[in-house]
Symmetry: C4
Subunit: 222 residues, 4 copies
């Protein structure tokens, strides 16, 4: 446990240099995470299927494309939800200064659940207009419940071992980010339970959430 003093030391020895030191120690976790987020978010588009109607007229192709609306809806909702998750990851890691094995695994859990999003999106696309829609949407909402809990876990791990955070991270900012992570789990739980009333409740809540975050996230990124 030799990190407690080095934290103080570093900020003393290299005044103003703490940021660049921190950047270096978390560079690869961020690069790996960015890679996983980038691949997962791009794979969402694999769910947009080209209709196979080689002999069809332009009109029937247009009609077939129009029929694909559940896939476009699910694609846009999932894309921006994963984007928000990435922005959130970005906000957390701006405060992080070094890594620990525990934190790498909490981050790994988060990434694993993120790679499941194309699967649960595909489920919604396939079943939105059919009897299976409620189950499909419950799985979709449930994926986001788990992801938001994983964010909570990562944040808990970081708070539990403050030496991982930058020495100059303000207490107020830490509090503010912590408060944000209390919104996700209940909101997505509502979206999951709501699926059994109507699958459009799930899609509606998930859409409302990313739009809400897109327009209120302003503060954290500065």
């Amino acid at each position: 446990m030799n990190h407690t003093e080095s934290r103080a030391e570093r900020s003393a020895v290299i005044p103003g240099g703490a940021a660049s030191v921190a950047e270096k120690k978390t560079g690869r976790v961020e690069a790996f995470s960015d890679g996983v987020f980038a691949v997962a978010i791009t794979l969402l588009a694999l769910d947009l299927h080209v209709p196979h109607l080689a002999g069809a007229s332009g009109g029937s192709l247009a009609a077939a494309l129009a029929q694909g609306w559940p896939s476009y809806l699910a694609f846009v909702t999932s894309f921006f939800t994963v984007l928000i998750m990435w922005v959130s990851h970005h906000s957390i890691f701006k405060l992080v200064h070094r890594t620990s094995a525990r934190m790498l695994f909490a981050n790994g859990l988060l990434l694993m659940l993120t790679t499941v999003v194309p699967f649960s999106t595909s489920l919604v696309t396939e079943y939105l207009r059919f009897a299976g829609a409620k189950v499909a949407c419950a799985v979709y909402g449930g994926t986001f419940v788990l992801i938001s809990l994983a964010y909570g876990l990562l944040w808990y791990v970081l708070l539990h071992d403050r030496a991982l955070l930058k020495p100059d991270a303000s207490e107020e900012l830490i509090q503010r980010i912590g408060r944000n992570y209390r919104v996700g789990p209940p909101a997505y739980a509502l979206a999951t339970v709501g699926a059994f009333l109507s699958p459009y409740i799930t899609v509606g809540i998930c859409t409302a959430l990313w739009i809400f975050w897109a327009f209120t996230a302003r503060g954290e990124c500065r």
Copy 2:
């Protein structure tokens, strides 16, 4: 709104050091964007299909491969168009110095539309020789109209909050980049509308545009 003075401060305190500071603050957005561009551009190649003719002679395999020309044409056109988009993203971000939530979402919209390119390319490949070609090419051109509008939006967001741009970004360069973004939307709109006359108008305009940009983009990258 504490960023206006910090912009002046930074360039004063760290003479010549502004560039490296800026690099740090946009590093992850660029890495994530590079990841999405890299995955999307590589997925284009998934549209090149191996003909399944296990018992076939060499001659029939060669003929089947030759028949795949619409996929090669669409692949090359889309690859270089996405490459141009990446070069353009690169040019913009060389001027960017810090991030804002609004800018991250404008960038996200851009990336989302980019991940749709393999889908619209696949549509052209499948329908270019069939009756659906006009609709397929209109969707293809339309994707690029939306992407060029998203570039305009990103640029608008950046100009609207100049603190995001590097303090030493020359007014003249900013003007020049702005002018470039006025070419894309009408050119691609023409390619989209032209599809209804002939799908080859779309392919022709899109090909002409990337060739034109490849040979005139010289200035910006220095």
Copy 3:
């Protein structure tokens, strides 16, 4: 062979600056490796298949999803095993300072075997409940035997040419990492051979190994 003296020189000329110099020389190997790990780990999720039962009731969809448990089990096991591999790669490269062609190829072998994991995972998913399970699990375990041997090879190449390691890498840390690489090959060999008794021995050992490493890896990452 002019690197032996330059190693001493560098640590002398730039006191405390060796770390940042090293970071620069291995930046691209790490970025490329992170990319391969990120793509391979995300492709694991492509093995989660949406059941195609368009007319099905919610109940039958739920049942079909529940039947997919071998794919969820294989997905989680493989994800965390690849994550451990990435954490391990990260630990090694924190000590590396420069590259050599030999090391790039040892690293390439490691990456090649890593990209095979989605294939062997898919094999387990498809056969876990059928007669082919023993063969499928032996291939799965065998893939990890080869990967752990490749880690041993990379480590051997690095120890063989100490100029590749940071001059300030402590002998004790080097010894400790070396000891860790002696656990993998026999443990995975056991998982491979055990497959012929029962495929669940393979899955059990692989699961136990990642859980064990997740909870004991603490030291190395600090």
Copy 4:
């Protein structure tokens, strides 16, 4: 054309600092290229197909897997050939200092052809034991002829505008790299033409080439 003097200036003003400045200006091209290489090399593994024999005994699964040898052979050959290409890209970019539009397009051409490798590998896998093998191997070899020509073009663009190279790049190293690029095109042309005698000539030459480069590349990476 204001870059000629700035080249001299920079090396004068920041003694020994040229390397870090150069790193910054090519960072994104390298990151994007690394991304494309990483995705393309990982997609090679998608060509390893799980045999679909749900009711089969362990023995028939093992036999079916053994029958997949052309895919394993093609996978290993392509993986290491793309790895060599990446190592080569790495060697070139260590000398590069700034970007130009022309160079970004030459690099883009290279990346485009690289993303085609999974397609041509898949062609070899599917046809190696059938009548179409000669055509499939000619396409495979031809892809590498084009890639090696694209490397030549990139190198030509860099030599044509020396301001893109680091001021401290030694003439001798530049000569040596240039000589290396004269080996690829004729060797792969031979592999392509040889396909019409026997497809194994192509596979043999491509395998021999990556093994040769893996064991002789030593010098460049130091």
